[in-house]
């Protein structure tokens, strides 16, 4: 039977023909010979297998190239499937990463707050160390934040060595008030805007003194100037005076806004203060 295969006329052998049987035996003999040849080669060429490797350097690229040409549609489909799988995986990862990013941003905000708080604390500690007085740092507690803060509480008390009459200042050494009551772990401070505030003050750059009084409505005024002819004006600075012996002298209070009103610090402008350990004998502890 003749067939046209690869444009070559081939005469196919049938199993009954002797030539077929002989060919089969011949092929088997060749295969049988190949077995010991290969085994001997392995034993001799071990471990380099130079001939085998050299042969593979030719056969493998050719087979690989032909295989690649044949299988490209399958590999394209496979790569497409892999791409879809990868995309799906990336989407899932993206979701997870977004959650992690949100957490990280949240942590970043926390860190930022912590850093800023740290910087503030460092600044406060520096100020505390730079202060010539023995000081205690205290937080202002606004449990009554809905009301006017004519008086306020701080979170330090007798346990911290605080006593009634001690002076409370801000971190820029500006008078805030005086302690009027002292518990073991807290103190009540009277602010400068309290109606009962009545402290001796002095106009800087002069010997004119007077008394600072609050009106209970977020304002403070100076009354009873030592010089009746004196008329206050905007921009004059006011500091404490030791006339009454209640406060140490020279603590900055604020600037005058008009003839009598002084721009003082109000408690709601602060969150933390320093308490100067001062007693009524005009000496610092």
């Amino acid at each position: 039977m003749n067939i046209d295969f690869f444009a070559v006329k081939v005469i196919r052998m049938t199993k009954d023909k002797l030539s077929y049987k002989l060919t089969k035996i011949l092929k088997s003999v060749l295969a049988a010979v190949a077995v010991p040849v290969f085994i001997i080669y392995i034993m001799i060429a071990k471990p380099d297998y130079t001939i085998m490797n050299s042969l593979a350097h030719i056969v493998l690229p050719v087979a690989h190239f032909v295989g690649s040409v044949i299988t490209w549609p399958i590999r394209v489909i496979g790569q497409g499937a892999a791409w879809i799988r990868e995309t799906s995986k990336i989407r899932l990862e993206n979701k997870e990463l977004r959650v992690k990013l949100d957490e990280a941003l949240s942590n970043q905000h926390t860190c930022k707050i912590a850093i800023e708080e740290n910087q503030k604390l460092e600044k406060e500690i520096d100020i505390k160390h730079a202060s010539p007085f023995k000081t205690v740092i205290a937080d202002i507690q606004f449990d009554d934040s809905v009301f006017h803060h004519n008086t306020f509480l701080i979170n330090r008390g007798r346990k911290s060595g605080l006593e009634r009459g001690m002076v409370v200042v801000s971190f820029d050494n500006r008078l805030v008030g005086t302690i009027i009551d002292c518990g073991s772990e807290f103190c009540r401070v009277r602010s400068l805007i309290d109606a009962n505030t009545n402290i001796a003050v002095r106009i800087t750059g002069s010997d004119i003194s007077g008394f600072l009084q609050g009106n209970g409505k977020n304002k403070s005024f100076i009354n009873f100037f030592s010089d009746p002819q004196f008329v206050g004006r905007s921009g004059l600075s006011v500091v404490t005076s030791n006339i009454s012996g209640i406060l140490p002298s020279g603590i900055y209070i604020g600037d005058m806004k008009d003839e009598k009103q002084v721009d003082v610090l109000r408690p709601n402008q602060l969150s933390r203060v320093m308490v100067l350990k001062y007693n009524n004998s005009d000496s610092y502890k």
Partner: protein, 149 residues
């Protein structure tokens, strides 16, 4: 068109073998070892002219990729010799398209390979490949029958 179809039908054993070898994937088709199914089938069960020579090349390529110096090549030659010299079993007429013979062929090979490593991992890996090749032999041969028609 008919010539193309005819050519594809005739070249199908070579193509599928090359495809199986080329589409090698770790675990599922390491070093293209699935090509042994068609190598066996078209060499012994449904012999095709010039295919044994092609099978030798494929076995050599599998061996090269597996870093098994001429192992499957020798196994193939050995099986070819045994098959050629005996008249007791006619591989072209065995039942189930020579599945059991194929299992014997690869089973013997994997059995020897089990001794190449002392770990349980090697044993399990060889066992897995034996089962996987045996299972896939059936659909691959079924595909050949479908294309031959």
């Amino acid at each position: 068109m008919n010539k193309v179809v005819h050519f594809l039908r005739k070249s199908w054993p070579f193509l599928i073998t090359l495809i199986l070898w080329r589409l090698s994937v770790s675990f599922w088709n390491p070093a293209g070892i699935l090509a042994l199914t068609t190598v066996f089938f078209y060499s012994f069960v449904k012999p095709i002219d010039w295919f044994p020579l092609f099978s030798l090349i494929i076995c050599f390529l599998i061996d090269y990729r597996c870093n098994l110096p001429l192992f499957w090549t020798i196994m193939y030659c050995l099986f070819y010799t045994i098959n050629g010299f005996q008249n007791y079993i006619d591989a072209t007429h065995v039942s189930k398209d020579g599945l059991y013979l194929f299992m014997t062929f690869i089973g013997f090979g994997f059995f020897i390979l089990m001794f190449s490593g002392s770990s349980w991992g090697v044993v399990l890996n060889n066992l897995w490949l034996f089962i996987w090749l045996s299972v896939l032999y059936i659909p691959i041969i079924a595909l050949d029958k479908r294309i031959s028609k």
